[in-house]
């Protein structure tokens, strides 16, 4: 493959207490793909993302972003956590949450200014939430909250996007809006990695897929490896998806 490797994971092993959650993961994600990470509950999908991002400390292994350690490449990476990971009753507005996406490039102490605000407003417009910019975040619907999180990552203007179940608990309209934005990101040459649960939509949404169940089962183009064989290996039951239809 002559494509550049955006993310390279070597021998990654992560454990909570004694039981390994991820075992010896080797993974290469080429630049410019829209990749789904699929696997059953407890397969370590979120853990994989969190370990790559340095939120969790792995027992062994290393992660490289465009060939360099993550710590040096932070500004190339943006993260969309699970919507349920924060308290949406926090006293703040939609715009304010999106502005948080600029904090990383600002660094310590410096305050966001007009330039940062403009970037945040643009991101809000991209996700169709400009009209809600002053809304208290608890008064947003689940889908709108997810869009706000997406906008916060867009503000970071990164090259690689990691998203933890962005389609969880959103309605069909929001799902389509989000996937369109992800496809636009790919078109712009960005790499997008998504923890995904709905197997039916994998062939339609993604061009790259990683099967994960503590160990890496398979990774590659959807059209080559998204088949009953890999699904059965990953989910443990005899899985049949009629993806040809």
């Amino acid at each position: 493959m002559d494509k550049k490797i955006a993310v390279k994971v070597d021998d990654l092993t992560v454990a909570y207490n004694y039981k390994p959650v991820l075992w010896d993961i080797d993974l290469e994600i080429p630049e410019g793909v829209l990749m789904a990470i699929v696997g059953p509950n407890g397969a370590g999908k979120s853990t994989l993302i969190k370990s790559i991002l340095g939120i969790l400390n792995p027992i062994a292994g290393s992660v490289a972003i465009y060939g360099k350690p993550y710590k040096k490449q932070r500004q190339l990476v943006a993260y969309v956590p699970q919507k349920g990971s924060v308290d949406w009753d926090f006293p703040t507005t939609a715009l304010d949450v999106v502005m948080m996406g600029t904090y990383g490039s600002l660094g310590w102490i410096k305050r966001p200014r007009q330039k940062e605000k403009k970037a945040a407003l643009e991101a809000l417009e991209k996700v169709g939430m400009l009209a809600f910019k002053s809304r208290q975040i608890s008064q947003l619907s689940g889908g709108q909250q997810q869009r706000i999180f997406l906008a916060r990552a867009l503000v970071q203007n990164a090259s690689i996007y990691f998203m933890d179940e962005p389609f969880q608990g959103v309605d069909a309209t929001t799902e389509i809006a989000i996937i369109n934005i992800l496809k636009e990101l790919r078109k712009a040459g960005k790499t997008v990695i998504v923890v995904h649960h709905d197997l039916q939509t994998v062939p339609e949404y993604f061009d790259w897929v990683t099967f994960l169940n503590v160990k890496k089962i398979a990774t590659g183009p959807v059209k080559d490896i998204f088949n009953d064989d890999n699904l059965t290996k990953t989910y443990g039951i005899n899985y049949k998806v009629s993806i040809q239809e």
Binding site: V77, V86, M100
Partner: protein
């Protein structure tokens, strides 16, 4: 303190040295604990303050045992050390074991408080005339505040304000989304330790005034009250400081104008009044206005339901204003004489004898009820 009138108090507060010192002290204390309490409440660490204040008790006793003196600053230094140890043990327990943070808090709280009480009773049994009065740290005694104590509080509050202003963005980010903060490259441990240390410091400073047992209320009550009035973090912190300061001033005023009313508990009670008032009367989150909105919405719905029902009947006739007997509405629950009267007032319905008929506006309004939602979705 002798008995006086509350207006007399407010005249004396500017002239009387002792009164001024105590008032200033409790006001500053209320402001700084209110500010920091906002962060504790939003991090769902409401019980942290309780654990820290209880964890400070053995420190006071040990500092006395070592120095044999009742110098406030020495004792508070001991409180600070053991408060910090307790706090970091809590963090350690949560991190290293399966225990949840409420369990860790409870464990450290009772362990340290038990040990502190043990030392306190041991000290009291000793043949030393100097030991009396150490138990004032249990419930606090504002009357013992002197000018240097107030200065210390003012300096810590100033420092706290400075740090808050400098790291405002980082604090907000960590409070809202700690994992995300990490991915942006901020040292979350540093931010966390910074804010926790200030919470410990503020609590220790309050021990002399409010005491170990009630100290956590100073942290929680102003913040809980402030949260009801605003959806902005900055406003919440500001309001909490104001509520805290006022609790201090009013609490001191009330206890100074009566005999035998201990200041600490009165301050806490005043703060609780702020909480109660905010929970009931806040326009957006308060119970009262929520209930009023609920009743109003129900009434509107009843009105709309009746109108829609009439619309359905009217549609079966060529003339929309064809008169119908009121009896027709009786088997329908939304109908009351009041709702009918309201519809007449709005000019949607005309009443003649026992017959009603829809007006043109009434017919059109009914036809357009609740269609806005569906067109928006399309």
């Amino acid at each position: 303190m002798t008995k006086m009138d509350i207006t007399e108090y407010f005249q004396l507060v500017f002239t009387d040295y002792t009164l001024r010192t105590i008032t200033l002290g409790t006001a500053i204390l209320g402001a700084v604990t209110g500010m920091l309490g906002s962060f504790a409440v939003l991090r769902k660490q409401s019980l942290l303050g309780d654990a820290i204040s209880h964890a400070a008790l053995p420190g006071i006793a040990i500092a006395f045992l070592i120095t044999g003196a009742k110098d406030t600053n020495t004792l508070l230094l001991g409180a600070l050390v053991s408060g910090l140890i307790g706090t970091f043990w809590i963090r350690g327990i949560v991190k290293k074991t399966h225990l949840k943070s409420d369990t860790a808090l409870g464990l450290i709280l009772s362990l340290f408080f038990g040990f502190g009480m043990l030392l306190l009773t041991f000290i009291q049994k000793q043949p030393n005339a100097n030991q009396a009065g150490l138990d004032k740290y249990l419930f606090g005694q504002a009357a013992t505040l002197v000018e240097s104590d107030v200065w210390l509080m003012a300096i810590v509050t100033g420092l706290c304000l400075l740090v808050l202003l400098l790291f405002w963005k980082e604090f907000k980010l960590l409070l809202f989304d700690a994992d995300y903060t990490k991915t942006l490259g901020f040292n979350t441990k540093f931010i966390d330790i910074l804010i926790t240390s200030f919470i410990v410091l503020a609590i220790v400073l309050g021990l002399q005034t409010v005491g170990v047992v009630l100290m956590s209320a100073m942290l929680l009550a102003p913040a809980a009250a402030a949260r009801q009035w605003t959806n902005s973090l900055a406003t919440m912190v500001f309001l909490a400081a104001i509520f805290g300061a006022f609790s201090g001033v009013f609490g001191t005023a009330i206890s100074a104008s009566q005999t035998n009313l201990s200041t600490g508990p009165v301050i806490v009670l005043v703060a609780s009044v702020f909480v109660f008032f905010s929970f009931v009367f806040s326009p957006s989150r308060g119970l009262l206005f929520k209930q009023i909105r609920l009743i109003r919405n129900r009434r509107d719905l009843e009105l709309h339901k009746t109108l829609a029902f009439m619309h359905n009947i009217a549609e079966t006739h060529d003339d929309i204003s064809h008169p119908h007997a009121i009896k027709l509405l009786n088997n329908f629950q939304g109908y009351t004489r009041k709702t009918l009267q309201k519809l007449v007032e709005k000019d949607y319905v005309e009443l003649q004898a026992n017959m009603w008929s829809l007006t043109k506006t009434g017919f059109e309004t009914a036809a357009n009820l609740y269609t806005k939602q569906t067109t928006e979705d399309e």
